[in-house]
C-alpha cells in the first residue's frame, strides 16, 4: 500500500479581518405598517427593531457579498489572490446552481479557490467559520473567506403581522487565516430536526411552481416556541462554548449573539448572567434579522464604533431554522 503524505496546516486559525455591507435603503417601521395592522410601539416592544435595510434590484446577493468581502480582505491585510477558499452561507440566493460562492470568488479576483455555498440558516456564520478553521488547520487553504449574506426581504410576507417587521438584508464577511495561537475556540454545534417546523419556508419551491399556494413562499415561525428555544436552550449552548474554550463569562469582553430579536438577546444575557463589563451586540435595532449575515455585521459595527476592539475575546452564537446552532469563542480581528 502506498504511503499517503499527510497535509500540512497551520497550528491554529484566527479571524484576520471583517467587513460588512448594508443596503442603501433604510426602511423604518412606518413602511412596514403600510401592509400590517400594528404599531411602531408594538414592533419595538416585541423585537427592538426600529429600522432595517432592504436591498434594491442592484444589491444582489453576489454584489453585497463582494462589497463585504473587499472590506474583510483589506482589513485582513492580504490580497484576493491569497484566498484559497470561499464559503457562502445563505438561504436567499434564488439561483441555486451554480453556487454563488464561485461567482463571488471570481469577481473579487481570488483566482481558483475552493468555493461553495452552505445552508445553515441563522447559524450559517458559525458553521462557515468552523469549516474555514478546519481548512486552515488541516492545510487545504491558507486563507478562507466566510460570507453570510441574505436578502430576506425577498422571503418576507409583508402581510404577516408576526414576521413582516423582522427581516433585513445585508452581507458580512470574515477572512480566516493561520495563527500561532488558538484564536477560534472549539465549536459547540448541532441540529434539532424534530423542531424543523418552528422556523421554516411556508411551502417548497415546487409547490409554488405547481400553483399551490399562489402566494410566494416566505419565512414563518412559531414565535413562542422559537423564543423559548433561543433563550433557554441556546444559553446552555453558549455556556458549553465558554466551557469548551476553557474560559468563564468573566473572561469575556464581547457577546455577539445572532441578531434575531432584542427580546431574545436581553433574555439570553439575563439567563447567562453575563457580567456588566461584557459589551453586547444590539445591531438588530437598526439592521433587523439578517440571518447568516447578522453576526459578522454586528461584529463589524462593534469594531467600527469602538464598542469593541481588536484582541477582545468574544462569544458568538448563531441559531435558527433547522433548528441548528453553532457557538464558539473567538478573538476579534
Amino acid at each position: 500500500m502506498a504511503k499517503i503524505r499527510p497535509s500540512q496546516g497551520a497550528p491554529y486559525a484566527r479571524i484576520m479581518g471583517v467587513g460588512g455591507y448594508r443596503p442603501t435603503r433604510v426602511v423604518p417601521n412606518e413602511v412596514i405598517l403600510e401592509t400590517i395592522d400594528s404599531s411602531d410601539e408594538w414592533i419595538r416592544s416585541r423585537s427592538g427593531i426600529a429600522t432595517r435595510h432592504w436591498a434594491s434590484d442592484e444589491e444582489t446577493v453576489a454584489m453585497m457579498s463582494i462589497e463585504a468581502s473587499g472590506k474583510a480582505i483589506a482589513d485582513a491585510g492580504i490580497t484576493p489572490e491569497q484566498i484559497g477558499g470561499v464559503i457562502v452561507s445563505t438561504v436567499s440566493h434564488f439561483k441555486q446552481t451554480p453556487a454563488v460562492a464561485t461567482e463571488i470568488a471570481d469577481r473579487i479576483g481570488a483566482g481558483k479557490p475552493a468555493a461553495f455555498d452552505i445552508s445553515a440558516g441563522c447559524a450559517g456564520f458559525g458553521y462557515g467559520l468552523t469549516l474555514a478553521k478546519g481548512m486552515v488547520v488541516e492545510g487545504s487553504a491558507d486563507y478562507v473567506l466566510v460570507i453570510g449574506v441574505e436578502r430576506l426581504s425577498d422571503l418576507t410576507d409583508l402581510e404577516d403581522r408576526a414576521t413582516a417587521f423582522l427581516f433585513g438584508d445585508g452581507a458580512g464577511a470574515v477572512v480566516v487565516g493561520p495563527s500561532q495561537e488558538p484564536e477560534i475556540g472549539p465549536t459547540v454545534w448541532g441540529s434539532e430536526g424534530d423542531k424543523s417546523n418552528t422556523i421554516t419556508q411556508t411551502v417548497p419551491w415546487d409547490d409554488y411552481r405547481n400553483g399551490t399556494p399562489e402566494k410566494f413562499p416566505a419565512l414563518t415561525q412559531e414565535g413562542q416556541a422559537v423564543f423559548r428555544w433561543a433563550v433557554f436552550e441556546m444559553a446552555k449552548i453558549a455556556q458549553q462554548a465558554l466551557d469548551a474554550a476553557g474560559i468563564t463569562s468573566a473572561d469575556l469582553d464581547v457577546f455577539i449573539p445572532h441578531q434575531a430579536n432584542m427580546r431574545i438577546i436581553d433574555s439570553m444575557v439575563k439567563t447567562l448572567k453575563l457580567p456588566e463589563h461584557v459589551t453586547v451586540a444590539r445591531d438588530v435595532e437598526t439592521t433587523g434579522n439578517t440571518s447568516a449575515a447578522s453576526i459578522p455585521l454586528a461584529m463589524e459595527r462593534l469594531l467600527a464604533t469602538g464598542q469593541a476592539k481588536s484582541g477582545d475575546t468574544a462569544l458568538v452564537i448563531g441559531f435558527g431554522a433547522g433548528l441548528v446552532y453553532a457557538a464558539t469563542v473567538v478573538t476579534l480581528p
Binding site: R46, G223, Q224, V231, F232
Partner: protein, 82 residues
C-alpha cells in the same frame, strides 16, 4: 411535596413581578396575563419557564396558549406537578 394552590399563586406572583414588574398583590386568580398584567406573549414564555423550574412541572409550548389567566396557570401546575 406538591405545592398548594395558595403557594402556586404566590409563586406565580413573584415570578410575574420579577419578569414584568407587576406588584405581587395584583396577581390574582382571575387576572389575564396579557390583558390585565401586561405580560406579552414573549414574557409569558419567561413566566412559564420560571414556573417550570419553581414547581418542577413541564409546560409544553402547545399548552402555553391555553393559559390565559393566573387561575389557568395555577390549575395546570397543580394538575401536572411531580
Amino acid at each position: 411535596m406538591a405545592a398548594t394552590q395558595e403557594e402556586i399563586v404566590s409563586g406565580l406572583a413573584e415570578i410575574v413581578n420579577e419578569i414584568a414588574g407587576i406588584p405581587v398583590e395584583d396577581v390574582q386568580l382571575d387576572k389575564s396575563f396579557t390583558d390585565d398584567l401586561d405580560v406579552d406573549s414573549l414574557s409569558m414564555v419567561e413566566v412559564v419557564v420560571a414556573a417550570e423550574e419553581r414547581f418542577d412541572v413541564k409546560i409544553p409550548d402547545d399548552d402555553v396558549k391555553n393559559l390565559k389567566t393566573v387561575g389557568d396557570a395555577a390549575d395546570y401546575i397543580a394538575k401536572h406537578q411531580a
